[in-house]
Amino acid sequence: MFGYYLELALRSLRRSRALTALMILAIALGIGASMTTLTVLHVLSGDPLPGRSGSIFMPRLDPRGLRGFDLSADLPAQVTWTDGVNLLNARRAHRQALMTGGALPIQPDDPSIDPFFVSARYTSADFFGMFDTPFRYGQAWSATEDEQRAHIAVIGSELNDRLFHGENSIGRTIHANGADLRIVGVLKPWRPVPHFYDLNTTNYGAAEQVFVPLTTSRAMRLTRNGGVECWGMGSGDEDHMESASCVWLQLWVELDDAAAVASYRRFLEGYAREQVASGRYDRPARAELTNVMHLLDEQGVVPGDVRLQVWLSLGFFVVCLVNTVGLMLAKFMRRAGEVSVRRALGASRRSVFTQLLTEAGIVGLAGGFGGLAVALLGLAIVRMQPNPAAELAHLDLTMLAATFLVSLFAALAAGLVPAWRACRIPPALQLKSQ
């Protein structure tokens, strides 16, 4: 029976081509626009560490001066050198890493290549294990090397390709502003989206290409980058960052279960109270543990424009659907005569209804294909934009399946009322009036 409905539907669709094309086009544009913007939103608001982000926390304290004190305001998302080192050395979490951003001029051995800058991250040994960075060659450095301020580096795959043509470069040296760093590890391509561990340097940019122990970077005075928030007599003077009253480092800890979180929170609150008691902190003791997704949410990483575009495209889709309902109504009602003949010959209301919905379903599927084309085109246009997040906009399988399902359901829903009305036509009246 379904085959017969399919044939009837195709025949009917072919009979009024302009109307059919218009319905398919409306659904395709609506779906395509919505899928494009939803994909962008999906990529931008994704989880940078799938499966792990729930156990990665940022300990936050309030070491600032009394000026501008506001209990309801968020705590800084960075820590001072003193607090960072204290908490790092306390080793109260499963893993912990202290870090800041930087930029290093790389001078290739080959004199024909001009020196170039790469972004760098100065951090401590646990960074790699905690964020599960994939290694192609070698491995992370150890806590001992942190203490020794070893002249070593882990480099990204892109830099390895550029300097060493992708070969195993363990043991070779990179020259950065007179500093010679021995390579101990090479990462596979790795890019957490968003760049959650330091939103000051970039929010959706690529991960750094050189990783150097934080202790080494301070000893060698490597160029530091990133947000610095100072108070009191603090100033962003590079030579005295360790003692300045400024927050400029990101601290992350890994806590595997609820008990570990509770215990670390108690420890952090105790630490804050000690600092107040010793007179280091002017403000009342406050301490918080924020996990990755909460931090991204709090910092409003996803641009407002992207959300606005999603709403706009959904509104657009609704108009397209209303339009399709109207056109289907016109199409089905025009066939009142045909429907009446079928009814008079014994077709039940139900079979007429099913037949009309089959027609709507075909429109939906065709709209899905069209929508896919529109979405692919839309995403290609998005990728042409120069901002760092744009290149990430790709349709994944979920969105692909969603495109078809939504399109099919939308068309069926649009066909519902018109089909119902068409199958309620009293056949006798129609036949008589013809």
Partner: protein
């Protein structure tokens, strides 16, 4: 024109009538809000910086290596840039309008002020800065070369002389006697206002005090800086091409990045407002497509109605109705539906604008846009219905007798 029979007829096509009205309402709500956003973005993109933006080339430079003092390198570079043929002025700085990165601080009017000062962006420069930027000095004088000081990275910049924008003096010294007054940009370090410029904007595109800028005569000892170059009219392209070559000729140990190394100010402006322009284009396209789809929907449904009523039209024509009567019947019918649609649409538009106001920190929709939207949609309906209505008016009176 009789409206009553039209209303009576519409009552028999409730579903179609409601659908067209709803579509018009939604389209109106989206289109007038979207066009309002387009307008706001265009306004932003065209905001003046106070500079004379034509014939300006900017350079972003990083030296490689770590000498104790970068100042001699910087001075040599500035000299080299000034000697490029076609260059009128050049200087080194930390930032300039639309760079989207720079320094800011709070201005105090007392040496030991404790409240948050008036926020201002800081631009470093020298005696050629005003000329290179092309800003207008409205009071006081320019810096002279002897006033340019060297500032080390660990020092807070607060030279004895500064030039500020009119916005700052108006705010700090409302009596109009700001010239020659002393301000404090760092605790206990006085700076005298020696000049006032008409307008110059901060480097950021979202800042609460866009016109608060302080220009300081100083060279900052750092391996990372910018150069701003003003060329003679018509020589911008030549200077743009010669700049990188000249700088690499002076000293190879530097990085001028591929994308942001050497740029004309047009490039700076267009990259600063890239997302705004993208949003404006997207919104315009969406509006266009929405209007087209709505028009197509109206054509589709009206054609169906015309087809359905051929017999009635024939009867009316046989009873003496003229073609123009039939035409105006359909036009009026559409107008009435569209009118209901726009009434609902205006309510939706205002509601949508209110919602966006609370969720996206946007301004409230101006009523002009609603009005324009109403006119556009009523017009669109009339245009869309014209072809089907014309076809209806051509139905011959004979149709009345065609069927049993």
């Amino acid at each position: 024109m009789q409206i009553k029979p039209i209303l009576a007829a519409l009552r028999r096509h409730k579903a179609g009538t409601i659908l067209i009205a709803l579509q018009i309402a939604l389209t109106l709500a989206i289109v007038c809000n979207a066009l309002f956003i387009v307008h706001e973005r265009i306004d932003r993109v065209n905001r003046p910086t106070g500079m004379d933006e034509s014939n300006v080339v900017v350079v972003q430079n990083r030296y490689v290596g770590s000498p104790p003092n970068f100042v001699p390198l910087i001075k040599t570079d500035v000299q080299a840039l000034r000697s490029i043929p076609g260059v009128e002025a050049a200087y080194t700085t930390n930032s300039f309008p639309l760079r989207r990165g720079g320094w800011s601080t709070g201005i105090q009017t007392k040496p030991d002020g404790t409240k948050d000062g008036l926020p201002t962006a800081l631009y470093f420069g020298d005696e050629q800065t005003l000329k290179a930027l092309g800003v207008r000095l409205i009071a006081g004088r320019n810096f002279n070369p002897g006033e340019v000081v060297i500032v080390q990275p660990q020092q807070r910049p607060a030279p004895p002389q500064v030039i500020v924008t009119k916005a700052i003096v108006d705010k700090l010294f409302p009596n109009g006697d700001g010239l020659g007054k002393t301000i404090y940009l760092s605790k206990g370090k006085p700076s005298t206002i020696i000049g006032i410029v008409d307008k110059l904007t901060v480097p950021w595109i979202d800042f609460d005090h866009m016109d608060n800028v302080t220009i300081m005569p100083l060279i900052f000892n750092s391996g990372y800086q910018h150069f701003v170059i003003r060329t003679r009219p018509g020589e911008q392209d030549a200077v743009f091409k010669a700049t990188a070559k000249t700088l690499y000729g002076v000293n190879r140990m530097r990085v001028l990045s591929e994308k942001t190394g050497v740029r004309t100010f047009d490039m700076v402006r267009s990259s600063a407002y890239e997302t705004d322009r993208g949003m404006a284009i997207l919104m315009s396209v969406v509006c266009g497509v929405l209007l087209a789809i709505t028009a197509a929907g109206i054509v589709g449904l009206s054609s169906f109605w015309v087809g359905q009523r051929r017999k009635q039209i024939g009867v009316r024509r046989a009873l003496g109705a003229r073609r123009s009567d039939i035409l105006s019947y359909f036009m009026t019918e559409n107008f009435l539906i569209a009118l209901a649609g726009v009434v609902l649409g205006v309510i939706l538009a205002v509601g949508l604008s209110q919602w966006m106001f609370t969720h996206f920190e946007m301004k409230r929709l101006s009523f002009t846009y609603v009005l324009v939207g109403v006119v556009v949609l009523l017009g669109l309906g009339q245009v869309a219905v014209f072809a089907p209505a014309l076809r209806a008016s051509k139905v011959s009176p004979v149709e009345a007798t065609r069927s049993v």
